[in-house]
Amino acid sequence: MSSLLITRLRQGKRTLPFPDGEPNLPDRFRGLPAIDASRCPPGCNTCVVACPTDAIAINGSLEIDLGRCLFCPECANACPEGTIRFSREYRLATSNRSDLVLNERQTLTLAHRLAGDLHRILGRSLKLRQVSAGGCNGCEADVNVLNTVVFDLARFGIQFVASPRHADGLLVTGPVTRNMHLALEKTYAAVPEPKIVIAVGACAISGGPFRDHPEVLNGAGHVVPVDLFIPGCPPHPITVLDGLLRLIGRIENPATRSELQ
């Protein structure tokens, strides 16, 4: 018993002050890509060619689809001019799929809180059922980590539950394989109304590196309606947590707040 108490003291309190304090991210963290298209030489498409998931396109100007982006170093390494670099901005979750497509003039429109009744019903107690539908266990692991003492998800009233019958929504990872299609549909149907869906990771948003394989359906949005998109491969746990807290209104955008007033 005494060793238990001594260990308890030694291990200390480790819960992050988030969202009140800023998270401690690694120096080499690759967050929101920053684009400086003024550096692009005419006709150059090196980054477009380098991107493994075709997340970069030139439509008049350089455009990045964060829903496809693996946040890998390939484009930044390939670019001879330093046009693309990954910033340390970890806030990436959006409410609409189209908000994830960015050019250099746009700022990312972060997710807004659940609308109306949904916020009233789910805002203070949100139970989620996680469904891995072809995920590589990267997203699953970094969602699971939210249950540790570091993130302590339960303090926000969010919990992962064992049955869809007990859940208010699904958190989907993976590109949705053909072999998980039916299971995802059935799990969604088993969640009582009103319900929400959260897509975590490049796979669940767009198919990720498996996009257009005949065995996958290119993301959760092709099977169920998605309310929150959290990009990354996998997203950092703090990016996932930030997205969830925006959804339940624990973190609000200044813009959203002024609209509400």
């Binding site: 072809g134 590589c136 266990n137 992962f160 072999n179 299971a183 394989h213 065995e215 491969c233 996998p234």
Partner: protein
Amino acid sequence: MAMSIPSFHNGEPIPLATVPYLPVREFRAEIVSAVRTGFALTALFGMPGENGRVQLFGVLADSTAGSLSALRAEVNEAYPCLTVECPQAHWFEREIAEQWEIEPQGHPWLKPIRFHPPYRSSGIAQPPLPGATEFFKVDGDEVHEVAVGPVHAGIIEPGHFRFQCHGERVFHLEVSLGYQHRGIEAALVGGPNKRTIHLIETLSGDSTIGHATAYCEAIEALSETAVPARAQVLRGVALELERLANHIGDLGALAGDVGYLPTAAYCGRLRGDFLNLTAALCGSRFGRGMVRPGGVLFDVDAKLAIELSRRLDKALKEVANATRLMWDAPSVQARFEDTGAISARTCEALGLVGPAARACGIERDIRLDFPSGVFRFAQVPISKWDTGDVFARAWVRWLEIQRSAVFVREQLASLPQGRSLATVGPLMPSHLVVSLTEGWRGEIAHVAIIDGRGRLSRYKVVDPSFRNWMGLAIALRNQQISDFPLCNKSFSLSYCGHDL
């Protein structure tokens, strides 16, 4: 092994023409007799042959000599199965039947393992829905069946488990997977291309470094690339950090599965501290972007090396402190000991790998038996225990944690000078290479076969989970069904690594 079958080393490319074609009868006999004398069946797979036929490749590993050998045979519709005489072939032959519509005749349990349309299709047969097949059934008045999954409690990948129980006692467990099948092997054919490394990194996300290292060593061998020593050391560091994070997470989860919350809570956090070390290295907690053909994309300066060592030491002390509670708790040990035990004989017959095999007292570790990269120069002592139960699988992890930490510390203190990335040239046409890496779950085996134009004509991936799922099924026999989560975690297998 007959003299006509050449032997080669891990990561040594050989001309495809030197892989002997044997009549099926001799192909079988060679494999069966080699495995009887203690060779491991590293891989057994098909690829397109001539005139619509299928070539079967067998790769055998002789760990005492540290050498590999490969042989092949051509088949069309059927051949007499190996499994009856060589149980290690069980899962491989089910895979061959599913991928190529070849029947291994006499196979005792021929069912799909991934539920996808065959690669060489007559176009007539549709694959059954995943899990919708016959299951092995035990009959009797008081026998009941329990079906779990694919979607089950916890944040975990999907799989289906079918138990035949008598009361609480499990007579038989059948594991049915395939839900995570993303078609990676088929997509790798024709490569390498810009997506290849990303498919490799996501074969099993928690083994990003392990799989990427196996792949890169294969590509470097085939392109005769001299990988800088500095890159080899940094890969070794990343591989051991991956092992540390996952082993620590597993020890915490094992504590959680027997309801011992202090160690579960502390190790859950500490696993993150080790993932963060990998993130300090390359920006990603899972090592994405670190390992590339030719070396590594991220270098470590003297300041970062010191910083990593300092954080490693601190976290490791806390791990020792957190796990000591569990080792000293009789209530935990009573649940770990004698639970889910498998004998060394069963382990060898099934060809189990990694900590699961070393927990049966079997000395089997690619880092020592078939070393590549930095492990040719720096050795990590083998960690084993011999009771084959949950305790042994937990204890082997704890031994490995300590030894990996020593390795990482030593390597960071003596990083070789020089570059960390070399340029990779074209691949040698018509060659084959076998690349083995000891991932944290065990042996990762990649076999690359290059066609006449220097492209991949077949890329076979054997994740350690592919070898070990059967071990879990056997370990559950005569156990309480309530011990399934504990046994499952003690193997800690990958679903997507199996499903590919």
